[in-house]
Structure formats: structure tokens, C-alpha cells
Symmetry: C2
Amino acid sequence: MTMAERKAFNKREKIIKSAIKIVNRRGYSGTTMEEVAAELLMTKGSLYYYFKNKSDLMFQCNSIVLLEAQEDLKRVLLDESLSIKKRLQEMVFIHIHYAIEENEVFNLIMRPEQLFSEEQLEEVLHLRDEYAAFFDKIIAKGIETKDFNTEDPIMLRMFILGAMNWIQQWYKPNGRLSKKEIQQRFWNYILKLLT
Amino acid sequence: MTMAERKAFNKREKIIKSAIKIVNRRGYSGTTMEEVAAELLMTKGSLYYYFKNKSDLMFQCNSIVLLEAQEDLKRVLLDESLSIKKRLQEMVFIHIHYAIEENEVFNLIMRPEQLFSEEQLEEVLHLRDEYAAFFDKIIAKGIETKDFNTEDPIMLRMFILGAMNWIQQWYKPNGRLSKKEIQQRFWNYILKLLT
DNA sequence: AGACATTTTTAAACATTGTTTAAAATTTGA
DNA sequence: TCAAATTTTAAACAATGTTTAAAAATGTCT
């Protein structure tokens, strides 16, 4: 990688980090290219040197956060020192953590087929599938070991992830329910569904 | 109500009906005032005679659909000829029906606090609370009659409604899973959670 | 029916924001 | 230092929500 390429790569990363913060504050449509640029003392035009367009930038914000969450999940999934149940519990806690803390950017709500180009859409869906597969894997393991018991584990996983994703629609940082409480109670429900 | 008022009222209704169709097809941000107007052979400017702005129009689309769904729920909730369980089952089927068929407009996704004005926001949240209360009521009844058994029924209701709401994020009209299948399996999960 | 008041529609201007462009400024590397 | 490559900029442009003032349509009263 040449000097220039490395520099561009770093800059791109800085822009994404900046954009993630703003998107989580203002939402997708509330985020303007101008504000993202201003944060880094640039003009909005320069962003187009690094990103094809706004939806490309949003796409990359989403991808970064999703990949980060995937890393967290993978670490737990492969931790053989933990029981299957414990591993799923931690994965549930991680998912809820992201749904709450990276709410807007974690799963860019809105029909992705409207926001994204054909190729982007394919990649987003692929990333989401990969992400969900982590949950499928641990559930499958648990069925094998008889820790869990359910028909149609895929549908159940969709049910469970949906319930968690929706948290971002009502969670308020200083509301009645703390993140910890939500994690704990949601985990109880999920365990009940799986046994 | 004078003639003119009645006419304006009807026109408003026509516009809303038209907008609902378009929003369900194109999503919130994909819907332009121009397209809504064109559907009724008007120019976009005239819409502002009937609605304060786009978000006001969206708000009223959302309200209409939400109120319609509330009516459906109420009918079932009060139908004493059905067992508690059966009533909840029908309510679940109704909710999933709306989540699928009126996907985009049923619960206007996106932070309502960004889309709506102060007063609108208050009304939206109120409507949503009212809506959720129908589920709380039947669950409370079921707990009384020992049909159901759960601590913290409110949180559980949030879990359940969230799971159902998320369907709109992945449901495809000609996909692998039919509406009926989803309704049936989701109901199984919900029943498991409640007993 | 005709005249006046009210209601409704329109076209055009405007504001905001995403996007493109051509040129200027900066950086790199020999 | 100088030419080539990279990056930034300001300005123009496009799309779309919003406002406005005037025109058109409608309703009402005599």
C-alpha cells in the first residue's frame, strides 16, 4: 500500500467514525453530509472523494459496527470454557448492548432495498445473514447437547432477534428500564422459549 | 359542519388513503409530495391546503391505520364468547396481519421524535400506548384466570410486540414463509412465553 | 341568474440538502 | 526543486419540501 493509499484509508476511517456518532445522534435522514464534513473541518464536497454518495457512507458505517459486533459474538461463541447456555446469554447481552448503544447505526432501519444500491444491498443482507448465523450456530449446538429444545430454530431465532432489535424503538437512556434490566429479563424470556 | 367543511374533510381522507398506498410501496422517504398529489391529479402545492407539511400527512396516515387496527383488536378483546387464550391468539394474528400488509405505515419506523412535532409526537406515543394497552388488558385477564402466568407482563408484552413488529423488516410477499405460517408459529412462541 | 364572498388550486419562487465539476491547493517522490 | 498525483474547494446543479400571491372554482344570497 502506497503512502497515499494509506492516508486515504485512514481518512475514510475517520470520516466513518465521525458519521457513526452523528447518525446515532440524529438518525439517518437527520444526518447531513454537511454536518459530517464540518465535524472534520472539511466541506461536504470532499466527502465525495472518499465515498460514492451518502448511502455508501451509511452503508460503511453500518458494516463497521456490524463487523465489530460480529467479532464480539465470535469470541463468545468459540469460548469453550463457557457452557452453551452461558455463551448464548452473553451473545444476547452483546446484541442488546449494540441495539441500545449503537441504536441507529447498528441495524439501519428502513427498507435496505430503498436505501442501498444493488451491490450494497447484497452485501448488507449477507452481513446480516452472517450475523444471524452466529445465533443459529449456538442454538444448534444447544439442541445437540439437549440444552435447548425447539422445532424450527431459524424461525425462533428471527422471533428472538426481532424482539431485541425493537428495543431501539422505545429505549430511552434515562428511562425507567436500565440496559442491565432489559438484558436480564429478555434473557429469561429467551431461555424459556428455548427449553 | 358546513358544506365546505364536509368537502374538505372528504378530500383530506382521499389524500390520506392515497398516501397510505404510496408509503406502503415506497417507504417514508421514498414518498414525495408530488407523487401523492399526482395520484389525485393535483399539484403538490395544494396538499399544503389540507396538511401542514409532509410529516403531518404521514402522521395522519399512521394514525388512521393504527386506529383501524385498534378497532379490530377491541372487537376481539370484548368478545366474551371466546376464551382468553383464543382472544389473544386472534389479536396476535391481527397485529401480524397489519405488520405485514400495512408494513411501512403501521408503525412508522424511525425515531418519531425526529419526524414529528412536539404535539404530534405526544399523540403518536399516546396512540401507541393505547394500542399496547389492549394487549396488556387481555394478558392481565389471563393472569387472573390463570390462563397465563408471568412476572412483569409489561416487559413481556414489549418483547412480544417487538418480535412481531420486526417481521416487516424481513417479510417478503412471495418469500419462503407465508403470513399464515408466521402467525401460527409466532403464536406458539407467545403462548409458550405466557404459560 | 348575477354578484359577491369563500374556498380551492395553481404556478412560480424559495430553501435545504445531496451530487457533480472544474479548478485550485497540497502533497509526494525523484 | 519540479512535475505528477492526490486532495480540497467553491460553485453550480438537481431533487424535493415549503411558501406565496394570484387565479380559478364554488357556494350563497338576493
